[in-house]
Amino acid sequence: MRIVEKTQLMTATEIDRTVQRLAHEIVEKSGGTSNLALIGIRRRGVPLAQRIAQAMRGIDGVDVPVGTLDITLYRDDLSKVAAQPVLQSSDIPFAVDDKDLVLVDDVLYTGRTIRAAMNGLFDLGRPKRVRLCVLIDRGHRELPVEASFVGRNVQTSDTEIVEVRLNEIDKEERVMLVERVP
């Protein structure tokens, strides 16, 4: 079983333009940012959330707080993910109660990660609203989860994997479509 690269879906420039556009969309559709907060889902949702917050600062000086959420403890498939799951800490430096939250992740696929993220969030309090922002929506939902803010929709088959590579984690910047080949 090996991984074969098929196509590049987004370049570094396209990622940046999309992040800017998503930031604008979120600000536009939030009816005020005073109560807004972003929560990046580990791992790649985190730098994305930070970049979106940074872009928002450029829009009209809005300073939206950013938290990070590790969902390992809330997964429904722990034993299938890794032989030994490794925990990272979540870090949400603000109260979740009554907040207008936007969850940020790199790829939306079956929706199980988002279900786990919401479980994690609701352990912390009662947000006023939770919406989802993803860079790529690749379809194949197994749960009733939808993203309010989508960078790009990509049609995929289930042997394909969408790999978002970000400088902060992967030391390169692009979105690849790869395939598992026996």
């Binding site: 590790d70 722990l78 299938k80 890794a82 352990d123």
Partner: protein, 322 residues
């Protein structure tokens, strides 16, 4: 780099890296204790068997709460009311538990080596919650977490252990753990309770020394671990309670010999007025309650690491999330 633990029988076989990994993995569980909702569903459907063949309150409650907060179910065996009184062997008892298919067994036993025996005879992860005078690994881990949090590191610290070292599995586990991080360990208590053999517990090059005077033992200490004195045992070193207090009680005056912000630790339960002056037990340097909170985090981390993953599954790609 994640480590796998088939069993947690003692600190002695672990490397410093493995210990640091467990402490790192305890941190998210420290955080969760602060959430309004402390219950997770991570180990839902899993069962943790608590087989305490020796009486215990705090450790049993700690492991039980750790299992519950992870969403696991429990099987509870308690010595006082157990079939052992009717003459059942240890092996039969644990095999009976095993036949009910728990996912791991946490056990405490008065015989050193009992958890190892069970680990060799059952196909089940075993966590040692204290065996005879041998080891109490989770106590040493929670002590290490407490020291590391307060001091920023475990490397090269001066740690003094006071009391009945000879009969203390807590002392042994701590000596193993701290020596792996290059700590200078000082043991102090009545001579009979601090035999020369304790210096040989650790590999050559590690620093363990015995000191008879408590003032000298506390000089420059970063952390002081005070062990409980069992009054029933005081006849062994031929000391009366008053003599023990006079020579070995941790008082505020003696504590001043240690570093100004030295940690005062005790595995519990404390006998106020015997091994420890109440003013010290309740003083600003006391970490006793923090140790208990950290104990919960460490035990949750171990249960998560040992019960949370399927031992036969393959590692998936780091990108293949949803």
């Amino acid at each position: 780099m994640p480590f796998r633990f088939g069993h947690m029988l003692g600190i002695e076989p672990l490397s410093a890296e493995e210990i640091s990994f467990v402490l790192d993995q305890s941190k998210p569980f420290q955080e969760i204790q602060k959430h309004p909702l402390k219950k997770l569903a991570t180990l839902r459907g899993k069962t943790v068997a608590l087989a305490f063949f020796e009486p215990s309150t705090r450790t049993r409650i700690s492991f039980g709460t750790a299992a519950s907060r992870l969403g696991a179910d429990q099987m509870n065996l308690q010595a006082e009311s157990s079939s052992l009184k009717k003459g059942e062997s240890l092996l039969d008892t644990v095999r009976t538990l095993d036949a009910m298919k728990p996912d791991c067994i946490v056990m405490r036993h008065s015989s050193s080596g009992a958890p190892d025996f069970v680990a060799r005879n059952l196909d089940l992860p075993v966590i040692n919650a204290g065996d005879g005078t041998h080891e109490h690994p989770t106590q040493a881990l929670l002590d290490a977490l407490t020291i590391r949090d307060r001091r920023g590191t475990l490397e090269g610290l001066n740690v003094t252990i006071l009391g009945d070292i000879l009969h203390s599995r807590v002392a042994r586990s701590n000596i193993h753990l701290l020596s792996k991080f290059g700590c200078r360990i000082t043991l102090c208590g009545p001579a009979m309770w601090v035999p020369r053999e304790m210096e040989c517990l650790v590999p050559a090059g590690a620093s363990v020394r015995r000191v008879t005077r408590i003032e000298e033992a506390l000089e420059g200490a970063d952390a002081v671990i005070t062990l409980r004195v069992q009054q029933e045992r005081l006849h062994e070193p031929s000391l009366s309670v008053d003599e023990y207090i006079l020579q070995f009680q941790l008082t505020p005056e003696r504590l001043r010999r240690a570093k100004p912000d030295a940690l005062v630790m005790h595995p519990g339960p404390m006998v106020r007025g015997l091994e420890i002056d109440p003013a010290v037990a309740d003083g600003p340097q006391s970490c006793v309650l923090e140790q208990v909170t950290n104990g919960l985090a460490v035990r949750m981390a171990l249960l998560f690491l040992m019960v949370g993953a399927d031992s036969t599954s393959e590692r998936d790609s780091s990108h293949a999330a949803d």
